[in-house]
């Protein structure tokens, strides 16, 4: 994971040659006990406690690129997405809705896979659990807008909380197998618990989501509802990934024993990430129920989980937005190009996956990173 493109590394060492030299000067022996009391540097030194100004702060900060470009890009994408139903046919709008739902699932999975280093093959279980819960609430209680969504998120979180404590004790491939088993377990449960889930037939005839007493029937309205909720989900995950807690998760991904030696209770951190990812996946399930108005056991089966993992890898694990792009690609190939290939969409996905692994080892997000740094 730490492999940098060779050219990049050379560039960097050339750029820091001067710094090396100045470091060498600094390494000269100093009188004992004075190593923190460095020479005052420029105006910065004035009025600040000794030792504080030793380093320009910017060195410690990680200024990857100016904040303006990504912010502008994000705003443009959001505006484009918001305006999309005004220009698209209903079918295209529905596809875009499906992409958003799946993207939220993939991005929540990326918090586990890419940020925390927990490759889960059972993440669809929490997605499906959320979808069933949202459907059930819509049928039996109310489909007034935030409620089914919240029920989905809560159920996803609960299911993840109940199963995650076992999962986060395992590492690497064992974690993968354990989550696969947990996912299959919930899949079986969905298939056999007829009275609640409708068994293999699925939960059908879920009423439309309602906003202010009015059902959202038009594809465009459903889309806007899904878009708003998904953006909220993306924002939550993005904030978490950028926080000190997110940095700790990346530390665990890189070197868990070291994190423990630094005093981080890593298992609790991983568990919290697992539950959060489960909650967001559950919310995505809630959106699925609102959009498809049908939930089947396949929605929490292995195929869905594997496709989500595929989306994360294609997009570039760890970047979050890359996972969203990967999800778009997966849905486009499966639902738009697939039908024209006599149902061989999965085959094409396989080919795309192999191509990505060979050509872009860090996924789509790796392309930008290479140029940006």
């Amino acid at each position: 994971m730490d492999g940098q493109p060779a050219g990049d590394a050379e560039e960097r060492s050339a750029a820091t040659d001067a710094e090396r030299r100045s470091m060498a000067r600094e390494a000269e022996p100093r009188p004992r006990g004075q190593e923190t009391a460095q020479r005052p540097v420029g105006p910065e030194a004035e009025g600040r406690p000794v030792g504080r100004e030793a380093q320009p702060r910017s060195v410690a900060r990680t200024a990857r690129h100016g904040p303006l470009l990504p912010a502008g890009l994000a705003a443009a994408v959001v505006a484009g997405l918001a305006a999309a139903p005004l220009f698209l046919a209903p079918f295209a709008t529905t596809t875009l809705t499906r992409i958003l739902v799946f993207a939220l699932l993939a991005v929540s999975l990326d918090l586990l896979v890419g940020v925390s280093g927990l490759p889960s093959l059972g993440h669809a279980a929490y997605f499906g659990a959320g979808a069933y819960a949202a459907g059930w609430i819509s049928i039996h209680t109310t489909s007034a807008v935030p409620l089914p969504l919240l029920a989905g998120a809560a159920t996803g979180a609960l299911a993840a909380a109940a199963t995650g404590w076992v999962a986060v004790r395992a590492h690497g491939v064992y974690f993968l197998m354990l989550t696969l088993a947990l996912g299959e377990l919930l899949h079986q449960l969905a298939q056999t618990w007829d009275s609640v889930t409708g068994g293999a037939n699925g939960m059908a005839a879920i009423p439309s989501a309602e906003l202010g007493g009015e059902p959202l029937r038009l594809a465009g309205y459903v889309y806007w509802y899904v878009l708003a909720a998904a953006l909220l989900g993306f924002l939550t995950l993005w904030l978490v990934a950028r926080s000190p807690y997110g940095a700790a998760l990346r530390g665990i991904r890189d070197n868990e024993p070291r994190m423990r030696a630094l005093g981080y209770p890593t298992r609790i951190y991983k568990y919290a990430a697992f539950v959060l990812a489960g909650a967001v996946a559950g919310a995505a399930g809630g959106l699925l129920a609102a959009q498809e108005r049908l939930v089947t056991p396949a929605d929490l089966g292995f195929t869905t989980a594997a496709l989500a993992l595929l989306a994360v890898v294609i997009g570039g694990a760890g970047s979050l937005w890359g996972a969203a792009l990967g999800a778009a690609l997966v849905i486009l190939v499966r639902d738009v190009i697939g039908p024209d290939l006599d149902g061989h969409g999965t085959l094409l996905l396989g080919v795309v996956f192999i191509a990505v692994v060979y050509l872009l080892p860090r996924g789509a997000a790796g392309l930008v990173r290479r140029r940006g740094r």
């Binding site: 994971m1 730490d2 492999g3 940098q4 590394a9 960097r12 060492s13 820091t16 710094e19 090396r20 100045s22 470091m23 600094e26 390494a27 022996p29 100093r30 004992r32 006990g33 190593e35 923190t36 460095q38 030792g51 504080r52 030793a54 380093q55 320009p56 702060r57 060195v59 410690a60 900060r61 990680t62 904030l239 978490v240 950028r242 926080s243 000190p244 807690y245 997110g246 940095a247 700790a248 990346r250 530390g251 991904r253 890189d254 070197n255 024993p257 070291r258 994190m259 423990r260 030696a261 630094l262 005093g263 981080y264 209770p265 890593t266 919290a272 959060l276």
Partner: protein, 250 residues
């Protein structure tokens, strides 16, 4: 006494890696552990840091029994370590590595909300400067030299504000210049930081340590001042199988 190990045993099958070791480290000491390969130094270290549980015996940190505590808890109680092979976060820059250690030990809870943490960045920059990596903060760990990684790891350990600092072969693989810098750094540590270190370079041991414990085949041979160790026949025999002082200490 900052560290009190009593009757520590650790066996791997028939191998008695640590065999009834009782070791006391005085507060403020610069205490070295020496011994030939296989003497049990690394295992003893792991028992002290909590990476391994002893089969018998107890470990006390500042009078508190920590034998059953995890390494996470021991770190929170003021124990901090560097490993023989620099153990860092390879996908991050040097500054990000230190910030990760600093944020755990200054500035309260780790929250899932982005926030500016000027004190964390200041402290990280200060620590970088202290270990001689002032201008290397933005460099990816993968691009650091071996010696620089060891310096960075020391900064990570110092970021925990330790009372007891455990260094496992801190100078292994370092250049002469880096070694000199490391020696100065350890010498300059305040007396509130006790240092217990394993080192093969006996010159460095005798330069830094005020107390030396020699281990052999899992048992303590002797503990004493550097002069005492230099004069000890048992230590010479353990190292060389001979009591000829010239061969070992030049």
């Amino acid at each position: 006494m900052i560290l009190n190990c009593t009757g520590l045993h650790k066996h791997f099958g028939a191998l008695r890696a640590v065999d009834d070791v009782t070791l006391t480290v005085a507060a403020g000491a610069r205490h070295a552990l020496i011994g030939p390969n296989g003497a049990g130094k690394s295992t003893l270290f792991k028992l002290i840091t909590g990476l391994l549980r002893p089969d018998a015996g107890r470990v006390e940190l500042a009078g508190r029994d920590v034998t059953r505590e995890t390494e996470v808890r021991r770190c929170r109680l003021g124990m901090s370590q560097t490993l023989q092979h620099a153990s860092l976060f390879p996908s991050m820059t040097a500054a990000e590595n230190i910030a990760l250690a600093v944020q755990r030990h200054t500035g309260g809870r780790i929250r899932p909300v982005p926030r500016r943490q000027p004190h964390v960045h200041d402290r990280a920059a200060q620590l970088l400067a202290r270990v001689g990596l002032a201008d290397r903060g933005r460099v990816q760990v993968a691009a650091l030299s071996h010696g620089e990684r060891k310096q960075l790891e020391l900064a990570l350990a110092l970021a925990c504000d330790p009372r007891l600092l455990l260094l496992d072969e801190p100078a292994a693989g370092m250049s002469t210049a880096e070694r000199t810098h490391l020696a100065a750094l350890i010498t300059d540590l305040p007396a509130s930081v006790t240092v217990l270190f394993v080192e093969h370079d006996l010159d460095l041991v005798f330069e830094l340590a005020d107390t030396v414990t020699a281990l052999h085949l899992g048992k303590i041979l002797t503990t004493g001042t550097p002069q005492h160790i230099r004069a000890s026949d048992a230590v010479r025999r353990a190292y060389l199988g001979t009591a000829d002082r010239e061969e070992l200490f030049r």
